[in-house]
């Protein structure tokens, strides 16, 4: 995702949107979100607290995408470490809010896929909450099939689009 665009959108929303009283800054996601590098280490359960900088230095916290099987909303075992480390960070830093952006692949209707994306976002929200992240810091937005990371019509591509992105905003 393009960092500058997100920041720009956040800024514009803050200037223009009604009811946006507080200044919030979207936190840039790490540059490399590739799933091949995810969850190679599991430091989230290590003793010791995170610092804010951990968000971009810790190898677990740098992973911000959770992928789903076809028509599924269950969080696969390989992502449990990611859930745990993000929950820990969120609990430790109440001034960070997290938007869970739910996405679906292109197949089927767009409105149904909005529902499917929300269901996946809710699944991640529940998992984070169960792992200790306060619900007040979590929010789900579904983009359905509107924000594909890949536009080929095959399973390899679809599997990259069935995802929830964890997006941090600092208040």
């Amino acid at each position: 995702m393009n960092t500058s665009l997100r920041l720009a959108i956040a800024a514009v929303l803050c200037v223009t949107a009604v009811g946006c009283a507080k200044k919030a800054t979207k936190v840039a996601p790490p540059s490399n979100n590739d799933r091949t590098e995810q969850a190679t280490t599991d430091r989230s359960t290590d003793s010791g607290a995170y610092t804010e900088a951990s968000l971009n230095s810790d190898s677990c916290l740098r992973q911000r995408v959770i992928y789903f099987d076809l028509d599924k909303t269950e969080i696969k075992g390989e992502f449990q470490a990611q859930i745990a480390c993000h929950s820990k960070f969120i609990r430790q830093f109440p001034n960070y809010h997290v938007t869970l952006e739910g996405n679906a692949d292109e197949r089927g209707s767009r409105e149904y896929n909005l529902g499917l994306g929300e269901r996946r976002g809710n699944a991640v929200q529940s998992a984070l909450s169960s792992a200790g992240a306060p619900g007040t810091q979590l929010n789900v937005v579904s983009y359905g099939e509107e924000r594909p990371t890949c536009k080929d019509h095959n399973e390899e591509c679809w599997s990259k689009n069935r995802r929830v992105e964890i997006v941090y905003t600092k208040n």
């Binding site: 929303l13 209707s109 767009r110 909005l114």
Partner: protein, 448 residues
């Protein structure tokens, strides 16, 4: 099946159109260029009626208009699937009045019908288009009418002529003089420019209604054709807007937490069916547009969405995955139990209902192939037939006379729109823009 004959009308379609959608201000170098639709007729049909539309004589002062009204008429009739229009280059004689028609010529060419006409000056710089429709075998005049329109709206005049001819011969009101709405997406993620567009039913005269850097979807026409309801993410999450087409003025009608989706105007225009998930998961609601109060119609832990009104205004058809995968269900506007409508196909979603409430088009998925299917309930419990080839087809929308549908498909990474006859036999691609085109919605009949 006859060998596929592919007719390219591109050479006839060189007139440039008014609105260059992204010309102003976007600066992205990825605009929706020329905006000239190319219509490709994929499949012929033996049952189509042969008709000749003779080029209309230009008898007005000044230079001939850029729009040849007879071209508009010819292409409308051809793309309906009901007619086989004689190619313009095969027209051998050029009568402009019924009295000039030499019927043996057209009999020899095996034409069932012939249309002749002429364009003359009318008051205030307008043009008067007089036309006559004849039955070739009987040498009998079936229609002789005149339509007056502005020079800037001669395509509109042509569509009205085509509607009258279509109705005279088929007995069904023509729907060529209608408009369509759709969404375009130009650019590469994350710098995508979305636009909600309105165009003539053949894709000409595109106008930008809304531009957004965030997704737009689900345009839905008000029954009077003056407003569109749609979903926009420009506030960050989904919200439903209603916008007046003529003035561009708009209002947010729903921006609750979670999904605000799938708006659909009631047949009388006073209510909006919509999908809201603020109570936990997507359910169907009905909003009274006067009071803005919403009433919950479905209450189920599944995803319920994409409500469409039955023509009687008393029932909704919607998509639900309460049985596992999405299927179509019907529910009373007063709530209560929903009845399942579709049993064939693993996945059935996004209904479009014909004006008589007997045909239900949907996106039907089996394995990885998604096609448009039509459930015909005019006889018994209904028969289901696929009318598109797949494999990523979605979003069907019936023309107001039920004779054709629009739907969204893909060409490589790109979204494109097709128009298809309701029996699936004639299909044309509307090339509307350089970027992605999706979410077609066929507007209502227009009032003359």
């Amino acid at each position: 099946m006859p060998a596929n004959f592919v007719t390219r009308f591109a050479s006839l379609l060189l007139c440039l159109l008014g609105t260059a959608a992204w010309a102003q201000g976007q600066g992205q170098g990825q605009g929706l260029s020329s905006d000239v639709p190319t219509i490709v007729i994929n499949t012929g049909t033996a049952a189509a009626l042969p008709i000749t539309v003779v080029p209309f004589a230009f008898e007005a002062a000044g230079a001939p208009s850029e729009t040849d009204v007879s071209d508009v008429v010819r292409m409308d009739l051809a793309r309906s699937g009901k007619f086989k229009a004689l190619d313009k280059k095969d027209v051998v004689e050029f009568p402009s009045r019924g009295s000039d028609i030499k019927f043996p010529t057209w009999n020899l060419l095996k034409q069932a019908y012939i249309v002749v006409g002429r364009m003359t000056d009318a008051d205030g710089g307008a043009m008067r288009v007089e036309f006559e429709l004849y039955d070739v075998a009987k040498q009998e005049r079936l229609l002789g009418l005149a339509i007056t329109g502005q020079r800037s709206d001669l395509r509109g005049v042509g569509h009205q002529v085509a509607d009258l001819i279509y109705e005279k011969i088929t007995g069904v009101r023509g729907a060529f003089w209608t408009r369509i709405a759709y969404v375009t997406a130009a650019g590469v993620s994350p710098n995508i420019n979305y636009a909600l567009m309105v165009a003539d039913s053949d894709g000409y005269n595109p106008q930008v209604l809304v531009r957004s850097r965030e997704p737009l979807l689900s345009p839905s026409w008000s029954p009077d054709g003056k407003k569109l309801a749609y979903v926009s993410f420009e506030r960050g999450d989904s919200a439903i807007y209603i916008q007046e087409i003529a003035t561009g003025s708009r209002q947010v009608v729903s921006n609750k937490k979670g999904i605000n989706g799938a708006p659909a105007f009631s047949p009388d225009g006073t209510k909006l069916a919509l999908t809201l998930s603020y109570l936990g998961n997507p359910d169907i609601f009905i909003m009274d547009l006067g009071s803005r109060e919403t009433k919950r119609i479905t209450n189920h832990f599944s995803i319920d969405t994409e409500a469409q009104w039955m023509p009687d205004g008393q029932n909704l058809v919607f998509t639900s995955d309460r049985s596992g995968k999405p299927q179509l269900y019907q529910v009373s506007v007063n709530g209560g139990d929903a009845t399942r409508l579709t049993f064939q196909g693993e996945y059935n979603a996004k209904a479009s209902i014909s004006y008589d409430g007997k045909q239900f088009a949907m996106a039907q998925g089996t394995g990885n192939v998604y096609r448009i299917a039509v459930l015909d309930r005019s006889k018994g419990s209904g028969t289901m037939s696929a009318i598109s080839p797949g494999s990523v087809d979605e979003s069907p929308s019936f023309a107001p006379n039920g004779s054709m549908l629009l739907y969204a498909a893909t060409d490589g990474p790109r979204g494109v729109l097709y128009a298809v006859s309701a029996d699936g036999r004639v299909r044309q691609r509307l090339v509307l823009a350089d970027g992605d085109v999706r979410e077609p919605s066929w507007g209502p009949f227009r009032q003359r």
